[in-house]
Symmetry: C5
Amino acid sequence: MFQKHNPEIGARPGTLAIPPDSPFPKVTVLQYDEHSVDRFEIEDVSELRVLEDKRRVTWVDVQGLGDEATIRAIGDAFELHPLALEDAVNVPQRAKTELYEHHQLLIARTPQLDDSGDVRAPQVCFIVGKRYLLTFQERYYGFFDPVRKRIVAGLGAIRSRGSGYLAYALMDAMIDRYYPVAQRLSDGLEELEDLVLESPHPDVLARIRALRRQLVVLRRVAWPQREALNAMLREQTPFFDEHDKIYLRDTYDHIAQIAELIDSSREMASDLAEAYLSNVSHRTNEIMKVLTLMASTFIPLTFVAGIYGMNFEYMPELASRNGYFIVWGIMISLATGMALYFKRRGWIGTSPPPEFDTDNSD
Amino acid sequence: MFQKHNPEIGARPGTLAIPPDSPFPKVTVLQYDEHSVDRFEIEDVSELRVLEDKRRVTWVDVQGLGDEATIRAIGDAFELHPLALEDAVNVPQRAKTELYEHHQLLIARTPQLDDSGDVRAPQVCFIVGKRYLLTFQERYYGFFDPVRKRIVAGLGAIRSRGSGYLAYALMDAMIDRYYPVAQRLSDGLEELEDLVLESPHPDVLARIRALRRQLVVLRRVAWPQREALNAMLREQTPFFDEHDKIYLRDTYDHIAQIAELIDSSREMASDLAEAYLSNVSHRTNEIMKVLTLMASTFIPLTFVAGIYGMNFEYMPELASRNGYFIVWGIMISLATGMALYFKRRGWIGTSPPPEFDTDNSD
Amino acid sequence: MFQKHNPEIGARPGTLAIPPDSPFPKVTVLQYDEHSVDRFEIEDVSELRVLEDKRRVTWVDVQGLGDEATIRAIGDAFELHPLALEDAVNVPQRAKTELYEHHQLLIARTPQLDDSGDVRAPQVCFIVGKRYLLTFQERYYGFFDPVRKRIVAGLGAIRSRGSGYLAYALMDAMIDRYYPVAQRLSDGLEELEDLVLESPHPDVLARIRALRRQLVVLRRVAWPQREALNAMLREQTPFFDEHDKIYLRDTYDHIAQIAELIDSSREMASDLAEAYLSNVSHRTNEIMKVLTLMASTFIPLTFVAGIYGMNFEYMPELASRNGYFIVWGIMISLATGMALYFKRRGWIGTSPPPEFDTDNSD
Amino acid sequence: MFQKHNPEIGARPGTLAIPPDSPFPKVTVLQYDEHSVDRFEIEDVSELRVLEDKRRVTWVDVQGLGDEATIRAIGDAFELHPLALEDAVNVPQRAKTELYEHHQLLIARTPQLDDSGDVRAPQVCFIVGKRYLLTFQERYYGFFDPVRKRIVAGLGAIRSRGSGYLAYALMDAMIDRYYPVAQRLSDGLEELEDLVLESPHPDVLARIRALRRQLVVLRRVAWPQREALNAMLREQTPFFDEHDKIYLRDTYDHIAQIAELIDSSREMASDLAEAYLSNVSHRTNEIMKVLTLMASTFIPLTFVAGIYGMNFEYMPELASRNGYFIVWGIMISLATGMALYFKRRGWIGTSPPPEFDTDNSD
Amino acid sequence: MFQKHNPEIGARPGTLAIPPDSPFPKVTVLQYDEHSVDRFEIEDVSELRVLEDKRRVTWVDVQGLGDEATIRAIGDAFELHPLALEDAVNVPQRAKTELYEHHQLLIARTPQLDDSGDVRAPQVCFIVGKRYLLTFQERYYGFFDPVRKRIVAGLGAIRSRGSGYLAYALMDAMIDRYYPVAQRLSDGLEELEDLVLESPHPDVLARIRALRRQLVVLRRVAWPQREALNAMLREQTPFFDEHDKIYLRDTYDHIAQIAELIDSSREMASDLAEAYLSNVSHRTNEIMKVLTLMASTFIPLTFVAGIYGMNFEYMPELASRNGYFIVWGIMISLATGMALYFKRRGWIGTSPPPEFDTDNSD
């Protein structure tokens, strides 16, 4: 849950903590305006310096952080603030936004469920300049493919807008990915809802707890994202104009909706856990009732039988011809009496469920 | 609880996610001023372009979202922002308000209990322009019928006011519908209150939980509505004047009152669940007491009987003529001793409920 | 808990929802300045129009809302905003304040415990104008009698102050009534405190829950009142001058103190419920211990007796002359062994309560 | 917990609710500047009028509120606002600050543990004028003695500063007294920590609850104090200059630290209560295990013995010479089987506590 | 948890509460600019007065607070505000920031786990002037060694920046130390996660509680730190320029991330405790089931055996040749009947865990 490749304690700011298993950076460039699109990969990062283009938007996508020299070269090419570069490489971080003089940094994270059901949240770092956008990913994730296709195909308004709008579009594509994860967890809750009532196996509780844990992690990813987007909306920034902000507000609405969904899901998971426990306690109760019935009925009877199993030489009842049958009579009366008592206390027989006013239609 | 027909991940903004089972749009227009009212249906949406009327208020009500072309044509006729159109069609969303350059978007939702007791919250999208109001509903809901009647009948001030006041009147009619739902859930709580004490059947707990779940959903609908109305009141907007805002504040008071009612109901539902559980545990306790009494009393007696059921050749007591009666004496003393002990510990007999100072009159 | 006589859904604003059992309005007028006081009842509401008096304060107290025509006539006489009149008549509402152009509306509520211990909160509506004050009560409550006496007697500064100060004085008299209710609930808690430890009867828990419920309702009345007063203090209003606000701040301090008291009482009620439950569980524990002791001790003994009650033809022990006494020896050893084991586990004998450092003096 | 001597309901503002058992006021005056100190008691309160001294600070300390005429005379001498005088006399109140035209009112409270362990919080009212300070105490408390000594001895900067600094110094002396109370409660928690594990007697739980209750009351005293100090720091006031505020900020830090300590203590008290309950439930569990073991092992054996205690004329086993020994064999096998089963389920023998990685050193 | 060496109650402000076991102050000075570094220890504190150097940054590090005269001399040399000096010496305090006229005070704390697992949080006081920085530590902690090395080695930008940046660098080095502590507690949770399910020994619960307690203390250290950093960022201060604030914002992000991690860890610890308790209750349940099965099955059988162990002279069944076998038949039927009943109620045999849809891959 918490594995951060921090620089060592007291390291100087700007120290890059390269994630140990990140591949060698692959740098893809997309330059476009309304009329044309160029897409190419760059081998030698020094070429980046000559890429600047006042008329077109330049998007440099860095996949893989595994080589410090390359990363530093990219940072130099765009004159990035040392802290911005550090943030781009240090994973994972909280989603946030940071405004520097010549560029704005955004950290966004997208939740994914891995095979063991743990919530992972790979991070992407955006650095938005006036005419360019840099994105850093730890490895290739595919979050950006739909947007890249839209640019190449020239669909929508994206080709005629600046780097701020591009950042919005990529961010929005990432936020969209919260929905299926939240949906899956929500579906898991529905499934457990039925299991809780039918088969109160301890595994069901373990599963509820696992789900709650996933929701805690998901919440820890989603809320800073919500805050970061809110901060972007309130901030005066040269990199996002009013038009872009209308779109960002839409993205903010999405993440706010997801954050609320996570919170109600958490509440429901707690409810489920409670329901499970009260169901278990109901069963214990039922078992206790049977034990009490059996024991309380037969213990006195056995005592009576024990009495007449005694070997005293002088026990008048034993000689009586009807003694045996009278004892049977006493025992049956005793048993009936107990049964009636239990019945009166409501301990025998499952009472029918109470009638509810079930007319729920509005 | 969470079924949103989202556009696919990474779709470009403005993509319409038409709800799959929504009927073909039926477009009804109402144009009015103080002197006259016209009401007609429109078959060909292109007619909308010529509808504009500086002196009269034009209300276009779209029932059904089932045809993208029609929806887009309406959007074009009123020059709607692509995101506004997307919000109008994407259901369900959080209640919200969004200010665009030429119009303001409002999303409102109204809770309904369906047959299975689930809380549904159909959404209506309002787009308020200077002299027009557009409303989009997924299908015909009937929320607006009372207001439409008031306009046609010319009752109240509505005919002499602008599009902002019309939006308020429709919104208010929607908020009014929260009351019966909250009322029904509140009544359900009262009913359960009695059941909890009388018949602690697990179905009662299931019912409490269902109610709490309904309240969670209702809360998730009501709070964003409250926030959205609050945002509208604070916002500077050309579409609602000061006079309209006085009325909106009244609507805000209603939703605030409902939100508070929901919160206290939730608290009471939690209290009920606790009461149920402690009632169950009280019963278990009672059962335990009976078992303990029976077992603890008869087990020693049975032991005594067992002793004299042994077949040793030399057991002096057996030969004694009064042995049998002495043993009876011992047994009765033992039983009485146990009973007295239990009495002293307060385990026998239900103690009378404590006396309370019941003078509650003020 | 929630019975509001709402206008029907979608009714136009300003529709009056006359409470069904409210008596016919009785209108009492008090006009005063430093030198003189006039007090009279009005039969024909149209007389109100000529009452205006620039030099004197006019207080019109309406007791009973049972006639729509009269209420509307009063509204017309003072040119009230339709929403203000609606708020005056719709009961119950949240405490609030609303500023209109020519008058300010205040809703205040005062808690009362009725005979069944339910918290009622009758509402009074104040409409404060420049030189007049209107008060609407559902029926005669007597909240205002002390202030009316002070005006007539000319005590205090009230005769020389305006309508804002009069509104403050009446409001303050209402807030004062929170104290005895909060006090009674707080006393109820103290009383239960002792009962919880002495007699853990389920009625005690029911009573704690009832108290908590009363506190929930009281809180729902008190917090909006606090907010409303706070809003009045922050608001720029022509109806309350700085001097009046100093007094209102005092009233605000009272309601804030009450709100805090309610919150700690709620916390203590929860604590009490927990204490009750742990006390019950302690008793169950004690009962279990006795059962275990009796059963665990006698079950093996009974088994031994059972052995020698068998009728095998060849059982060497039976023939032994000391067999019977040896068995007794074995049984006594067994019982002693069990008792020692239980003693060692701390299950026999109630351990003395631990010693605390009881020097609490400061 | 809540005994306020309120004026009667609807009393006019400024009515003094003299605490019934407060002694007759003793009025002590201290006048000082850098060069000289005068200290004297005043018998006739009218002398106060001539005390004013532009160059020196005048501190009038009123101990005891038991005479309304005297209190009113003091109020008149300093031209106090009627509400300020009312606040000075009404005990107890929330800590607060109130700014009047010619003076500022501060209410401060200091917690004390009385002999029965209840938290008392005597109140002191400060009224700060330009060159004078009035303090009202219900009786002599001794809070101010250290400061009085510092003034007389001329220690520190206090002699050269104004009335605001004097108010700060007295307030600070009061806040200092929170520490030992919070410390004692915190120590009580530590002591209980051990008891919970060693001897889960119900008195321990009662004690935890008492402590939690003390913390609730302490919190109710400390938080308004914190808020009041915060309000003083933010407020523009002619009675405290920037220099005084630096010192007040220090006092604010103290009360904030105490408030936080109270909150974590409350959390720990809740934790302790939980620990107690789970410890009790663990013991119940242990007892259940023993009962189950004994009963489940011996009940079948007793049954077997019962079988061969039957008196049927034809029971082939009874005649067998080895029957008795075979039955013993069967019983021993049964007992061993049960024991093995219980062992396998982990119900016999206390498993050793799990090994933890105990290397906690950093 | 709360051992503060406070000055005595009512002591005058600026009184130094020297921690009793703090060593004699060792004063180390580091003076540097871009070109040179001087490092020396000072024996006679009066030398500090001549140290001032407009061009170079002077860092005076005081290790040990054990001599009041030395501390006061340092305070005089830098003309520190008496409260600043008091804060520097009083340990522990909440992290905070305080702006004085000529310098800014910062209190920072760093958590450490001591051998017994308690969270300690030694405090460092920073006093930042225009060209100098004073740091006060209770004893040598080694927090600053990495930064000192960087200055001496001339690494990074630190040599070319002012005293504000130096304060940032040291603070950042301290905040970095939160990570390993939070990491260790987080790891401890993971370890307990498994133990809870495998061996629900009460020591596991004790350990969970200990961890929760550590987290409570850690939270109490981290949150004020977060607030203090936030206050520094918002404050207008001459000691930190915009450039320094960008770096401080980075440090703020770290502490915010840690604070969030602590909060989710606390939530998970609560979850674990719940899981432990429900696991224990599941086990009790299992034990109850076995007891019920054994007792309910054998008690009736034993009763039957008891019947035919009675010694009545006339019991027709005893004489029957097949009586014994018929009784066996009855017993076996009874036992089978009970077993079937238990099976039907789901009390026999552990039901297989329910199948989950385990496809968690996204």
